[in-house]
Every structure is written in structure tokens, then in C-alpha cells.
């Protein structure tokens, strides 16, 4: 029972930290430099305990909080432990960064922010531990509410309030769906513990209804298309450490919920569930990445990229479900492992990138890509650390993002024996879509890094941008090191994930992977496919050294600094570089049907011409605005009832009474 107790102690300590901060409401320095790093250390401890728990047996506990006779059941099994590792690792780096980030006089008082932050962390950890629907929903809602308050940290800005409201709305619609899902699963037994839900034998129809609710509810939290609209609004609105936590950790709790319900409580289910997840995941991935390449605001770009990554993870889950329903446990384990690796990889590189934007935002006060540029010279620490995240985010070897991409493509490739020939045909197309998404992610990442950190500064003030402080560097370095370590040593990582896949599918990759030592990753067999990141990096490194040696040996000239050549044109200014719009223009053209583009072109006679392009999501105008208008219309209809005169209200009461009496008589 030792692990779960320790985790509860850590959660309690987070809450204590939060309450402590209330007594130091405006002492920014104390809150930032003392409480946040303490919370971060607790996060590291959580990751450590959870990692140890991952390799031990499941543990249960009961918390006597809540309604009488309805205690909170908690359970720590391999799946929960893995996600606790993700939470702990994400929190550690983010809290360290936060220590150097929060300043006085910006929105919510620092002490209050600290409370909200730590309640949020505690709620996330408890969501993953919950073993009954009651505890799960309470913690899920606590998580949603505390994160809502974190998003509204800058509540004086109208657009921030709007974004947060949209987030709250979708979070609650999603929560209702999850509640209904639990309601269907308990099958009139009235017992909401997960053990009971697991034991129910539902008919395929009710199973599918429960699955549908779960996909909608968790999809709304994870940001699957078409319920993704809150994500690109809320993530940019929040302070950067909060965006990092939202994107890197909170979205993963939705993945956890989806895994827990579909794989564990509903036992995998029918093959077409997998197809649904696969389709939703791929649509999200493609939409997300295409939109991320055309964004002009750095945090929106990253938010859309999160939609893409969540889409890839869900596609992996879908594939695993398909294999599982056909009894191909080993392939299911491969697909699930790919998804899990991506969960962790995305947590690291997206935290790194979001925190990097935070440092840039503090140094320059700009979040618009069109006003940034050239920061690698004034902010080398941030730039080079973010560079690692960019490479990982683009899915490039030998970093973390590539491992999951590689495993995912492998699982697509070796699926020639599915009994369903329709699916058999479809799988290569899906692999093609994944390849396209990953390649486009590279485009988005080059745009992100190139426009912010490279080139000439597009504004005068960028020359005076200061580099990140020590705390911020520590936070960034933690995530960068994680991206490198996961990319270079995937075998220990797969060892850990093996526990999860064994728990959910009864199969894992650890044995197959171990057959080839820790250098080579060969999940199926050495003759099938292998990837050795350390050797790969060594090879590239040796090649670079060889190149340097050759250049040194053969070179007879000298090195001189001078003006850029630019084909001999001397009048170039920073304004002549590609803007963010310009860099995204080819994508806008190729994927035009995806967007709702409004162009505002000047006439040739304009003295002060303005050129404006607005690229929007079609779903927003196609789905959400009609719904909003419908709600508006209904609300007006209801308001017609409220005439504001007492005689009419008395008449309503009278009519109600009359109808009631008639009903009683019948």
C-alpha cells in the first residue's frame, strides 16, 4: 500500500502549498521563488513514486471524503501509474519555469494563481487515481474549474474571458457526456465503482452508446475535431506555463479516460469502434496540422499542433482497438505502445515549446509572429533549447517525436493479415495520411522556429530582448533533456509502457525489444525493422566530424564577416523577409477547401492600401454559429414568456395549478 499513500501525501502537500499561498497573496517573490519550486519538486517525487508503482502490483485505497456511505475509491494500476509519471514529469519542469515567470501586477494575484495551479495539479492526479465514477467526476470537474480560473488569469482582457468561457462551456458539455456514459455502464445496478462497471455484461448496442458518450466527452477535453474549437482559443489566452500544462498534461488525462473506459471498463468492444477512433484521430491530426501551419500567432500555432498530436495518439488507440477486436494482441500492443510513447513525447516537447513562447512573450511582449524574428542572437538559451523541442515536434530522428512516429508507421505496415478485407485496404491509406501529417508538422515547426528565432528582428525593440532567467532555463532544460533521452533510449521507455499494454491487452513489446539489447529498437524482429537512435546520432556526429576534418584539411581560404549577399541587392530590410502569412501561403493555397478565407484587397487607387487575409475554421461558421443562433433564438422564445407584469406571472401560476389539479384528478 505504500505507493498510493505517498501519492496521496503529495497531493495533500500540493493543496497545502496552495493554501499557504493564500496567506502570501501579493508576495510575488515568495510565491514564485519558494512555493512553485516546492510544488515542482513534489511533481518530481510524484513521477518517481509512480514510476516505481508502474513496476509493482495494483493498489487500492478509500478516501472517506464525500457523501455519507459513498467513499471515494482509488486505485493505482499500471495505466494510472504511467499517466501519473506524465503528470509528475510535466509539472516538475513547468513549475521550475513558473518560478521565473509569474510577475506582480498581471491579472490574478500570484497567491491566488498559486492556489488554482496546485488545485489543478491535485485534481489531475486524482482523476487518474479515481476508481469510481463519483470520484472521477468530482475530480474531473475540479480539474475543469481550476483550469478555467487559470486560463482567465488575465481576466481584464475581454478576449481572454471569451476564450475561457468557451472552454468552460465545452468542458461541461463533455462532462455531461461522460456522466451519461457512466450512467449507461452501471446498467441499473446503482453501483458506480469501476469494479462493478467492469463486471457488467451489456448488449452491444448499450456498449456502443456508452462508447459514443465516452468519445464525445473525452474528445471534447482532448480537442478532437469537431469539438476542438476551445483549444486554439484557450491555450493562447492562458499564461504560458498554464498553456504548457493544459496542452502537455491535461489533454492526456482525456486520453487516459478514453483508455480506461474503452480498453478497461468496456473490454475493447467492437472493431468499428477502432475505425471510428482512427477516423476521428486522423481528421483531427490533418485539420490540426494544416491549421497550425497558417497561424500567425505563436501560441495558436502550438495549440493547433496539439490537436494534431492528440489526433495521432487517438489514431494509434483506434488501431490498437481494431487489432484487439480481432485478437491480434501483439500488433495491438505495438500500436498502443506507439500511442503511449507519443503521449510522453508530446508532453515533453509541447511543454518545452509553450514555455519557450512564454520566455519570448516576457522578453518582447509580442505574441504575433509578424513582429518577432532574430531572437536566437539575443536569447540564445531559449532558442537552442526550443530548437530541440522543434526537432522533436517535427518528428525527426533521433529525438522523442520520431520514436512514436516510427512505431506507429510500423504498426500500420505489418497489418496485412486483418480478417476484414475492407480494413486491409484502408490501412495503407491511413499510413499515407499519417506520413502526410508528420511531414506537415515539420513545416509548421520550421515556420515556428524560423520566424521567431531566425532572420532579422522585425521590430526595433527585439534587439533589447533579454534571455530567460535561471529558473526558466532550468525548466526548459528539463524538457529538452527529456526529449533527447526519450529519443535516444527508447528501450527503457518501452519497458515501462510494456506494463501498461500488458495490463490492457495482455501483451507487450518488452521481450521482443530486449532480445536486441538497449541500442537497437526492433519491436517485431531484427529482420523486419530496426532503429538504433544512439548509433544514428553517432553516425550523423561522425559524419559531421568527418566534414569538419575534411574542411580543415582542404581549406585554403579565410573566413570573413560581411554584409549578406542577397543576390547583390543592398537595400534589403527586415520587412522583406517572409511574414508568418507568407510562410503559410502555399499551405493556404493547397488546402484551400479547409479554410474559410476572407480577403480584404485594396483597390489600385488606395492612398493607404490595406491588405488583410482572415483564415478561419469552417466548422466555426458551419456548426457552432448555427448552434449559437439556435440557442439564442430559443432563449428569445423563452424570454417572450417573461412579460415582466405581475398579472401574467399570476396567470402562469394559476394555469399550472389548474393543470396539476386536473392531473391529480385523473
Amino acid at each position: 500500500m505504500i505507493h498510493i499513500d505517498w501519492i496521496l501525501v503529495i497531493v495533500a502537500a500540493w493543496l497545502v502549498l496552495g493554501i499557504w499561498a493564500l496567506f502570501a497573496l501579493h508576495r510575488t517573490k515568495f510565491v514564485a521563488r519558494r512555493l512553485f519550486p516546492l510544488g515542482g519538486l513534489l511533481g518530481l517525487a510524484l513521477a518517481g513514486v509512480a514510476l516505481d508503482a508502474l513496476f509493482s502490483t495494483a493498489e487500492v485505497a478509500q478516501l472517506l471524503i464525500g457523501l455519507p456511505g459513498l467513499p471515494m475509491h482509488l486505485r493505482l494500476d499500471a495505466l494510472s501509474a504511467f499517466f501519473l509519471v506524465v503528470i509528475g514529469a510535466g509539472v516538475f519542469g513547468t513549475s521550475l519555469f513558473s518560478a521565473g515567470y509569474f510577475r506582480a501586477g498581471e491579472g490574478t494575484a500570484p497567491g491566488l494563481l498559486c492556489l488554482e495551479y496546485h488545485v489543478f495539479l491535485a485534481a489531475m492526479a486524482m482523476v487518474v487515481l479515481a476508481d469510481d465514477a463519483y470520484a472521477f467526476m468530482v475530480m474531473w470537474e475540479t480539474m475543469a474549474l481550476s483550469s478555467f480560473f487559470l486560463v482567465t488569469a488575465n481576466h481584464r482582457v475581454a478576449s481572454v474571458r471569451q476564450a475561457a468561457y468557451l472552454y468552460l462551456l465545452l468542458a461541461h458539455i463533455g462532462a455531461v457526456a461522460i456522466l451519461l456514459c457512466f450512467g449507461v455502464m452501471q446498467a441499473n445496478t446503482g453501483d458506480y465503482t469501476f469494479a462493478n462497471l467492469r463486471a457488467q455484461q451489456l448488449s452491444p448496442m448499450w456498449l456502443s452508446i456508452a462508447f459514443g458518450f465516452a468519445v464525445f466527452g473525452f474528445g471534447a477535453k482532448a480537442g478532437l475535431v469537431p469539438v476542438h474549437v476551445w483549444l486554439p482559443e484557450a491555450h493562447p489566452a492562458a499564461p504560458s506555463p498554464v498553456s504548457a500544462l493544459l496542452s502537455a498534461v491535461m489533454l492526456k488525462t482525456a486520453i487516459y479516460g478514453l483508455l480506461r473506459i474503452t480498453f478497461d471498463l468496456l473490454h475493447g468492444g467492437l472493431w468499428w469502434w477502432g475505425a471510428v477512433l482512427l477516423a476521428l484521430g486522423l481528421i483531427s491530426a490533418l485539420m490540426g496540422v494544416v491549421f497550425s501551419t497558417v497561424q500567425t500567432e505563436m501560441k495558436r500555432l502550438l495549440a493547433y499542433s496539439s490537436i494534431e498530436n492528440i489526433g495521432l495518439i487517438v489514431a494509434g488507440l483506434g488501431l490498437a482497438l481494431i487489432f484487439r477486436s480481432y485478437g491480434m494482441a501483439n500488433l495491438a500492443a505495438l500500436a498502443l505502445t506507439a500511442a503511449m510513447v507519443h503521449v510522453l513525447a508530446h508532453a515533453f516537447f509541447k511543454s518545452l515549446l509553450f514555455l519557450g513562447t512564454g520566455a519570448v512573450l516576457h522578453a518582447t511582449g509580442e505574441r504575433n509572429l509578424g513582429k518577432l524574428g532574430g531572437l536566437i542572437r539575443s536569447m540564445p538559451w531559449v532558442a537552442w533549447l526550443v530548437f530541440i523541442g522543434v526537432l522533436a515536434g517535427a518528428g525527426l530522428p533521433p529525438l522523442a517525436g520520431f520514436v512514436s512516429e516510427w512505431l506507429l508507421l510500423q504498426s500500420f505496415l505489418f497489418t496485412t493479415a486483418l480478417p476484414n478485407s475492407f480494413l486491409d485496404m484502408l490501412i495503407p491509406l491511413v499510413a499515407a495520411a499519417v506520413a502526410l501529417c508528420v511531414a506537415l508538422a515539420g513545416y509548421a515547426m520550421v515556420k515556428f522556429f524560423g520566424v521567431i528565432f531566425l532572420g532579422q528582428p522585425r521590430e526595433e525593440k527585439l534587439l533589447r530582448a533579454h534571455d530567460a532567467n535561471v529558473w526558466q532555463r532550468l525548466g526548459l532544460a528539463w524538457f529538452a533533456a527529456g526529449c533527447l533521452a526519450m529519443g535516444l533510449f527508447p528501450v527503457p521507455l518501452i519497458d515501462a509502457i510494456d506494463r501498461v499494454t500488458n495490463r490492457l491487452l495482455g501483451a507487450g513489446l518488452a521481450q521482443a525489444v530486449h532480445a536486441n539489447g538497449w541500442v537497437l529498437l526492433a519491436p517485431i524482429g531484427l529482420e523486419r525493422a530496426s532503429y538504433g537512435p544512439v548509433v544514428f546520432l553517432g553516425g550523423v556526429g561522425a559524419g559531421i566530424t568527418l566534414g569538419l576534418l575534411i574542411a580543415r584539411r582542404l581549406y585554403r581560404g579565410t573566413l570573413r564577416r560581411g554584409e549578406p549577399w542577397a543576390c547583390g541587392y543592398a537595400g534589403g530590410t527586415a520587412r522583406m523577409q517572409d511574414t508568418a502569412e507568407g510562410f503559410g501561403q502555399p499551405i493556404r493555397q493547397i488546402f484551400e477547401p479547409f479554410f474559410r478565407i476572407t480577403r480584404d484587397l485594396p483597390s489600385p487607387f488606395d492612398v493607404r492600401p490595406h491588405y488583410r487575409v482572415l483564415t478561419q475554421d469552417r466548422l466555426w461558421h458551419g456548426v457552432y454559429m448555427p448552434i449559437a443562433r439556435l440557442v439564442d433564438w430559443l432563449a428569445r422564445g423563452v424570454s417572450w414568456l417573461q412579460q415582466g407584469r405581475i398579472s401574467i406571472y399570476l396567470m402562469y401560476s394559476f394555469l399550472t395549478l389548474l393543470i396539476m389539479l386536473m392531473l391529480v384528478r385523473l
Binding site: 517535427a394 486491409d424 485496404m425 499515407a432 531566425l454 525493422a529 559524419g543 568527418l546 564577416r561
Partner: protein
Amino acid sequence: MNVTATGILAQSLEIALALAAAPLLLGWVDQWRARLQNRSAPPLTQPYRVLRKLFHKESVVADSASALFRLTPYVMFGCMTLACAIVPTISTDLPLATAADAIALVGLFALARTFIALAAMDIGTAFGTMGARREMLIGFLAEPALLMALFSTSLITHSTSLANMVDTLSHRATVLEPSLAFAGVAFTIVSLAENARVPVDNPATHLELTMIHEALVLEYSGRHLAMMEWAASLKLFAYSCIGLAMFFPWGIAEVDSPLAMLFAVPALVFKLAIGGVLLALIETASAKMRIFRVPEFLATAFLLAVIGLLVHQLLEA
């Protein structure tokens, strides 16, 4: 991973051959191109002379260049050297080949592309960013097409490891699979685009409106440019050898026959010579496309490769 003495020998030989012969291949293609276009041909050693010239010139680096800019030529060189080391050219007994399969090889090319695009953006001139944008445009279209073309082969051979692919392909009973034909055409298109050859890009001009690769390396000079040029020729060499290994895998030595390497070298030279002439022929026969047409061209390759996969599932599986 069994590292044998012959394996190490084959590996070193391959790298040495690639480094030495890659500029020669470029010279051969240029020579044939000139001949086909009725120009007087430059000598076969012209690329070596260019390298020698660049190694004797001053390197001018823009004032605003960051370390990324100066590092990139070596990264390009390193990536392309590793690519040439992974692709089985004369033997399939390569110790390094287990480190990266076909997917990782595509990742390696993507890594190099990311670096070169970022380096081009580093100086902050209009041409650099334009080149970077176009390079990434071609990249995101070509990369999935290349993966799909390679996947057609791996579905036939049940492996993504290039060495195993070659081993299986050279021993199979059927000579021609229809899916490979589709994959071959797709691969050819991708190779043209990725190596900045004619229908997509023209390596011989500095015309602002059309250049892609030349825009990327515009700010480089001296030893940096030399490394870039060398890396570009290595890339052409690597792509040619991937094509030969996948579609014409004959003559490559195997694990149990190290002596066959003696014959593998002339076989490779012969195949590359024919491939070079064909490349020159394609380049002469086609006109440079407008940049807006390139996505369609590459989308064709992507679709062909996917059709290849489907054909495999329908007819051959």
C-alpha cells in the same frame, strides 16, 4: 546485429566510394545533359574542380549569421554521408544499416531538410526565406510520397530494413510486381524533386522567381558552400542508390559472399552510369514547371505510390 570484419570492410568501402564517387556521378549527369542539349560538355571532373575552387576561396559569412548557419553545411554533409552508408550499394552486410531502416532514412532526409531550411532563414534575406518556404513545401509533399514508395517494397519483402529488402528482392521468384512499377514512377518523381532537378528546380540558374535549392545556399561561400555542394551530390548519389537497390537490386553482395563485392563495384558503376544518362534524358526532355504546378506533380507521385500499395493489397497479398 552481427558485426563482422567483412561487414566493417564493406561499410568503410561504401562510405569511401560514396564520398569519392558522388561528385563524379554529378559530373556524368552534367556531361550527358550538355551532350543531349548540343552544348560542348564539361569534363567529367568538373564537380571536383568546383569543390577545389571553393576550398580555395574566402568564406564570407553574413554579420547576422548565428551558429546554426555555420553548423548546417556540416550537418548536411554528415546526414548525407550516413544516408549513403545505410543504403546498400555494394553489399547488404552493413553494420550501420541496422541503425536506420527505410523510415529512419526518410527521417534522416527530413532532418537535413529542416536544417537547410532553417539555415536559409537565419540571415533574414528575402531569397532565403522564400527558398526555405519552397523547400519545405516540396518536402512535405515529397516525404509522404517517398515513404509510400518505400512501403510498397516493404510490403512485398515484409521488412523496412533496406538491407533485408534488397536481399529478399534479389531472390524472389516473380520478376515484376505491378505495385513496384507504380512505386518506381513515384520514386523517380520524388527523386527529381528532392534533388532539385529540372521539372521542379533548375540547378543551373539563379533566376529569382524559380530557384529553390540555389536560394537556400545563396548566402554560403567558400568552404561552407563546398560542403553544401558535396552534400548535394551525396544526396543525389544516395537517392540513385536507393532507387537501384529497390528496383534493380542485382549484383549487390550479400552476407555470405564477401567476394561478390569485387563484382558489386563494377555492377554499381554500370547501373549508375545508365541511371545518370536517364536522368539527363528526363531533364532534357522536360521543361521547368511553375512553382504552383509542383504540388500537383508531387501529389501525382503520392497518389501513384498509394495506388501501388492498394494494387499490392488487391493483387499480390
